[in-house]
Subunit: 362 residues, 2 copies
Amino acid sequence: MRKGKLVAFNGSGQPLTLLEHDIPSLGEGEILVRNRYTTLCGSDLHTYCGIRQEACPSVLGHEIVGEIVEIADSHPGTDDNGEALKPGDIITWSIFSSDPQSVFAQEGIPQKGTNLFKYGHAKITKNNAFHGGLAEYCVLRRNTGVLKIPESMPLPIAATLNCAIATVAASLRMAGDLTGKNVVIFGMGLLGIACIAMCREAGASWIGAADIADDRLLHAQHFGANQRINLRQHSEEGTDVLKKQFVKKGVDVVFDMSGSPDAMELGMDILAIGGIAVWVGAVFKNRKVGIDAEKIIRNLHTIKGIHNYNFDDFKYALDFLENSWQKYPFDTVVEQEFELKEAEQAFEYAISHKPLRVGIRI
Amino acid sequence: MRKGKLVAFNGSGQPLTLLEHDIPSLGEGEILVRNRYTTLCGSDLHTYCGIRQEACPSVLGHEIVGEIVEIADSHPGTDDNGEALKPGDIITWSIFSSDPQSVFAQEGIPQKGTNLFKYGHAKITKNNAFHGGLAEYCVLRRNTGVLKIPESMPLPIAATLNCAIATVAASLRMAGDLTGKNVVIFGMGLLGIACIAMCREAGASWIGAADIADDRLLHAQHFGANQRINLRQHSEEGTDVLKKQFVKKGVDVVFDMSGSPDAMELGMDILAIGGIAVWVGAVFKNRKVGIDAEKIIRNLHTIKGIHNYNFDDFKYALDFLENSWQKYPFDTVVEQEFELKEAEQAFEYAISHKPLRVGIRI
């Protein structure tokens, strides 16, 4: 039986362990992938730090790109764009699989479908150990979205597609047509940074970037933000000045990638009549956001929450990256690279240095 | 010069006064209407009680139906459905007029357009006194939506069209397709009651009605609610039982017509994944609504505020009433009638008895 290495997460505060496990033979509709590159997402760091509780021991890492080793005969043999798949192809895959016939999947929310399975979040069992990015292999389950990655796209860029970029794609879908729109994005992690570029490509006319850290705001500027808003120095007067520059006395869309209740509240304050707030970042416990219902009503505001993405968003994310990765400094996103056996150092570096991403070359 | 009577509102706590005023000759695009019937809306009562501050002296009343007396030559001569208008026609009209070229009007929000004028909310001036429902006449300004009322429709029913029914029409537009949906409506005033009937006609499969008053919940049942939810007796356990009856473990849409932060918070608790909350009622100062952003995000919830309506909603409201006023007990909405000179008694009755509506026959 084939064997492969994996890095087991044994709980927050416990050392990661490098193990060898059997690679199972493929089940119905499955694909065996040799992982090539994984980037550590914010939620991996949250789990590592114990801010979020997940099953363990597990294999963390879900922003993954890999090479097809074997395709089960029962797999349709094509990716989500209808392109033929064969061993050797570089692919990425949706962070989840779920029953396509379930009620939420049928309504365009497969990320909440029944029999939901999420890569990088599952417990290691005897027969199922290869389901995360911090491993040499990954077994793709039936009903996982798969996309072929163009050969020209660098692996560290492609790796971010199936979480950060696809989630931003879903956020843009929530916001609707962005042509000519004025937008403010809160939180200049990778989601916020990518959101700048994706809003620009979607036709937004003005994009403000808000964060509490100057270095992240500088990144935002490199990705094309029209204005940097340092929230540490922001005042009510600053809000007034910001709003007055627009015909509608406010912006059309705000995206919250920060998860900060203060930011979400400020976002509502700067929205124009008819404006939309898309909330994405707050995937952890925090104080409630105080909403003035009268203002929401009189200003015809909309708030939309989005978690993960659907298969259309996933394809949109690839289209975007394929067309635009060279137009924006996506090659600066991975600030430090590590090997699989250095996974613990990678986490420690990510936590202490707060880069947009660290990469694991496998 | 022609003269007409009007009831002036002189500020909360001041007596209403019956005055006679000159009827001005018509300006560009205007229509002179002889008011026939006015219903008192909740916001009229709020102004009368001083809960809401409006310019005064003014003419209150904006749920109005009247008879065309004269049409300026410069008026297009047709209503919003393209039907020819002539003196003697019974019509209702949008509670606002605004510049159709302004940015919000162009985006489908004419109720927030520039040069906004609202009937029943304006100050009496020497040349502009007839702009409310508590008067014998009303001068309809240019860019006011106008709809001919079918002869068969009773005036007390038709009068509610241009505020309550049209606002519910806008709320339904916010909610999207209701076919097969499970819905809970909070607040069983006229908006909530009408919302039951309109959701039913729009194809909703199950409708819950929530209020704190049993008599209003009984009304809700007469309008077709599947379940009455008395919020005074509601518990967390009740929420669980309510949610568990649905495949999605929650409802698809909640409408808040109550304006109560408690109700809006409960509404978010009972929404299924992917659900939409439409907020309509909270058009007065109140405590903030506490929103758990993580829940909004993980459940892909949407909150939409809506204030007033646009011209499509206005036409939808007429279509609905025309087809359905006999299918539901709309003839019970006006619980007491008064004459114009009894306007003060009408307000006092409305405040003390809390009927769905009082009517003023003019």
